[in-house]
């Protein structure tokens, strides 16, 4: 869903004069959404900008994506980064399975703070009204 949202936003920005590059890790959704420029990294969802606590990996992915802004020449161009999550592909098999239940949270209409203290901070800043 996120890749779809980002593709729609990218097309809107680009049509209004702002060059965009979408960095994503769901290849089929990027292909369907056809953003102007897309860089695919074959990592599990939630790691689009790199592996946790691996600054070299994160720096390399972000830089490679930005280079695409300069080097891509075709509308809809989509390239794949060489980065690999691991060598056995077990995560791909698990992610491609249609087994299991619905992993989404309930569609709650109240702010879903990561920590209870975040609510206090939002109240203190005035961003959230009681």
């Amino acid at each position: 869903m996120c890749h779809q949202t980002v593709s729609l936003v990218a097309r809107h920005l680009e049509a209004n004069g702002i060059p965009t590059l979408c960095l994503g890790s769901a290849l089929d959704i990027l292909e369907a959404g056809r953003p102007p420029r897309a860089m695919f990294v074959d990592y599990p969802l939630g790691h689009t900008a790199g592996k946790p606590f691996d600054e070299a990996d994160q720096d390399g992915i972000v830089l490679a994506a930005l280079r695409g802004l300069e080097t891509f020449t075709r509308p809809g161009q989509l390239e794949t980064l060489p980065n690999r999550w691991d060598d056995d592909g077990a995560w791909q098999r698990a992610a491609a399975s249609s087994e299991g239940g619905d992993t989404r949270q309930a569609r709650d209409e109240t702010p879903q703070f990561q920590f209870p203290a975040d609510r206090d901070a939002a109240l203190a800043s005035g961003a959230l009204e009681t």
Partner: protein, 160 residues
């Protein structure tokens, strides 16, 4: 082999007895705007669809939240938070925001002169919005307005 998410999700929902979801399939060629100046002179904007917010801001809700957050690009990782309807994908980003909100990496590229500058405020949205109409009518214009206020030359969009 890359995961075919649309097929896997469609099959899962079918098995669970849900109505099929109509995925976006773009029916026109994408628009194109060339980069106006070299990357080293480019002021860069960022949008992460991970539901990121800074400590002191309001978290996203999980029912097609179409709002966006403007997050100071100097925000330390320790003050970045995430709220997204697929919380199961946030486990690592909540430990290391660099997985989805690479402010540290982008600040480094700016100070090294690889990009001209990073916008003072970067953006987030909660990408798990089911209504494509609401993304077009609400999220996309809000992002465009915010990018224009930040006077960016180009934008990096990071999808979760």
């Amino acid at each position: 082999m890359p995961v075919r998410y649309m097929q896997a999700i469609t099959e899962r929902y079918q098995r669970l007895g849900y109505q099929p979801y109509r995925w976006l399939v773009a029916d026109s060629a994408p628009p194109w705007q060339p980069l106006a100046k070299p990357l080293r002179e480019t002021r860069l904007g960022l949008l992460s669809s991970s539901g990121a917010y800074a400590l002191g801001q309001v978290a996203y809700h999980y029912r097609d939240d179409c709002s966006i957050r403007e997050i100071p690009s100097a925000t330390p990782d320790a003050e970045l938070r995430f709220s997204h309807i697929t919380e199961n994908y946030l486990v690592d980003a909540r430990r290391d925001p660099g997985c989805m909100m690479p402010l540290r990496a982008l600040r480094k590229l700016a100070s090294a002169g690889v990009i001209g500058s990073l916008a003072d405020k970067v953006l987030s949205c909660m990408g798990g919005v089911y209504s494509q109409r609401r993304v077009r009518d609400e999220v996309a214009p809000a992002v465009l307005d915010a990018m224009r206020r930040q006077a960016v030359d180009a934008a990096l969009l990071i999808a979760m």
